[in-house]
């Protein structure tokens, strides 16, 4: 894949932004309200949705991969890599498919991505622990993904509106 300097720069900035959002959301103690391992708002998903529409699937996947690898290195927890990769790629796959459907808005794409992310993470937990007990949390996580997906969809929609007049959105 050949990237222009502008695309490469944008990929770098978006990766940084996704990492910063991941760190920021770790400060929001959502797990105190809903005590489930790995539960989070998924703010970095805003970057994925944005990259998917503005840069296309290939570069969005590159950003996701860089975010997962660097995130695990920064957290010093390579065990978390399996979780973020499986969650991230499940979400990416579903969002690439959904974004091709003309009738869907960023809300639908984002909610589908959030649900897939949780399925991917539960699958990682089942694989990692060698036990199906984490499946117990899946219904709750799917329910929560309706809210978190709508929230990240709203933020992505605001971002697209705010940037509508820029060169970025005109290609």
């Amino acid at each position: 894949m050949k990237l222009t300097t502008k695309q490469l720069t944008l990929c770098g900035i978006l990766t940084t932004l996704a990492l910063a959002l991941s760190v920021a959301e770790n400060q929001i103690p959502l797990s105190l309200a809903i005590p489930i391992p790995g539960i989070k708002l998924g703010l970095a998903n805003i970057v994925t949705v944005f990259a998917l529409y503005v840069l296309g699937p290939a570069q969005a996947v590159l950003i996701l991969l860089a975010r997962c690898l660097l995130g695990a290195v920064f957290a010093g927890n390579m065990n978390a890599l399996l979780f973020s990769l499986m969650g991230g790629f499940a979400a990416m796959g579903v969002m690439i498919l959904l974004s091709r459907l003309r009738g869907l808005s960023v809300y639908g794409v984002s909610i589908g991505g959030a649900a897939a992310h949780n399925c991917g993470q539960i699958a990682a937990a089942v694989l990692s622990l060698g036990n199906t007990a984490p499946l117990y949390y899946l219904p709750i996580l799917l329910g929560v993904s309706l809210l978190t997906g709508a929230l990240t969809g709203l933020m992505a929609a605001c971002l697209f509106r705010a940037l509508a007049h820029t060169d970025l959105m005109k290609g």
Binding site: P35, G108, P139
Partner: protein, 134 residues
Amino acid sequence: MNSSPKLRPGLWDALVVLVVAALAVGCAWTVWGGQDRGTELTAVVSVDGVETERLPLREAAGTERTIQAGGYTLRLRLTETEVWVESADCPTQDCVHTGHISRGGQSIVCLPARVIIQLEGGESVDTGVDAVIG
């Protein structure tokens, strides 16, 4: 720009919401509904995917267990009806925040220590949704 996104939610988005909600309900039905009722409530401790201890609550009531795994230590408390992790030195503390579990199928998961404490059996009680959200 590859394709311009639609920014207002529409009927198709509602369909995605319905599909996810249906999946959640279907999952709940399958995962929460199929518990083995009518047998003695037992806490099953697994470390690294391998069952290490079975603790029938009737016998283990009032006791405390220390589970050491993955370099972390969990202090487990048991009563006749409930199990909870009193304290742990893992970084996430999700197992402590999970709080008390009391029904068959419920579990406490500690990912850093790779420990699962799962309840099996129990009297036939309501299988309604946990009051976790809200």
